[in-house]
């Protein structure tokens, strides 16, 4: 079973809006994949479906060959756009929490990353700035030795130096043979770490290609190519 994520004629609609229009997709293991598309293209819907937060109207979505459920949640490490940490906890408690629920969570790695970022584990989440909370969340997710990491806008809203740090953290910490699915608007920063890209628009997959293919064939960066494809 070579694909960590598969969609077969996947359809999802909300009242008055077709979010995913019979999508077919295969994402192999061990790749870093960019999910790129304008707002409202269906990226977040696809991500929520993969995480079992939504159910398909028709068609299938398979994670590691199974429909999303308790077993797939064990294999997936999800970093949503929002902060989802429990406000009342401090960082230590949050680490214990992750350790309790996820067998693949590496506490030592988490503490190491926190230390390098000078974040005090005894600090309460409520007292932290938004930026620090986002870093804590990233550390928690990347300390899991998951098979599929789904990162939704991991570098949105942070300064360039932090963006570099986040990208470096991502590429040095994901486990061997895991797949990373990164959904983002900030293509320029991210494209140098991507293997493959998926362009999605209005619920349809417009293109799947490797970054090198695009650069070689089009002679331009993925960012520039994206702007062409999605010109308003």
């Amino acid at each position: 079973m070579d694909n960590i994520l598969e969609c077969r004629n996947l359809v999802k609609y909300y009242p008055g809006c077709l979010a995913l229009n019979s999508v077919n997709l295969s994402v192999p293991k061990g790749r870093i994949v960019g999910l790129l598309g304008p707002n409202g293209s269906g990226k977040t819907t696809l991500i929520k479906l993969a995480n079992g937060l939504l159910t398909p109207n028709s068609g299938q979505i398979l994670v590691g060959g199974r429909a999303p459920g308790v077993e797939t949640k064990k294999m997936v490490a999800y970093l949503p756009e929002r902060t989802y940490l429990n406000d009342w906890m401090n960082v230590n408690t949050m680490i214990d929490f992750f350790g309790d629920f996820y067998a693949d969570f590496n506490k030592a790695k988490a503490y190491d990353m926190l230390q390098r970022l000078h974040i005090n584990p005894a600090d309460h989440l409520k007292t932290m700035s938004k930026g620090t909370k986002e870093k804590v969340q990233l550390i928690l997710v990347m300390s899991r030795e998951a098979q599929l990491y789904i990162l939704d806008e991991p570098i949105g809203g942070v300064d360039p130096a932090t963006r570099d740090y986040i990208l470096d953290t991502i590429i040095s910490n994901y486990s061997e043979n895991a797949t990373l699915l990164i959904s983002t608007h900030l293509i320029t920063d991210v494209e140098k770490i991507l293997d493959d890209v998926i362009f999605i628009n209005m619920g349809n997959i417009v293109l799947t290609a490797t970054v090198d293919e695009i650069r070689e064939k089009e002679g331009k960066s993925v960012d520039a190519f994206f702007r062409e494809v999605f010109k308003c």
């Binding site: 870093i32 140098k192 770490i193 293997d195 970054v211 070689e216």
Partner: protein
């Protein structure tokens, strides 16, 4: 050394060039051990898969070799390194000639200009 990667060419071919440059200039000395794929990828801020591809290609070319358990090394074959150096130099020259042609300089004019500038550089040295 900062990795200078452009966004309109495939990363993997740029990595190959950069590593060749580092070997030729002695940053990775002949016979020395290279850092792990992950470390090199982190340094260059690229995907480990892409770095792996570049390194494998260089192994195929003979500039690098890997020992099963101990990692990757630069070749001790100095000839090979010279070859690579010359290859890189030739590429530079070819590109230079192409660009000069686009400016409208033919071969002879190019050589003249080259000599003149080098003399000036020598005087200012």
């Amino acid at each position: 050394m900062a990795w200078n990667l452009k966004s309109d060419r495939p990363i993997y071919s740029q990595l190959i060039e950069q590593i060749q440059l580092m070997v030729v200039s002695g940053i990775y000395a002949a016979g020395s051990k290279l850092p792990s794929v992950r470390d090199m990828a982190a340094e260059a801020s690229v995907n480990p898969n892409t770095m792996q591809r570049a390194l494998s290609k260089l192994e195929d070319d003979g500039l690098l070799y890997s020992q099963r358990t101990s990692g990757r090394y630069v070749t001790e074959d100095v000839q090979k390194i010279m070859q690579t150096k010359n290859g890189l130099a030739e590429n530079l020259v070819q590109e230079f000639i192409r660009k000069m042609n686009r400016l409208g300089f033919d071969g002879e004019q190019t050589v003249d200009l080259l000599n003149r500038v080098m003399k000036e550089e020598g005087q200012n040295g």
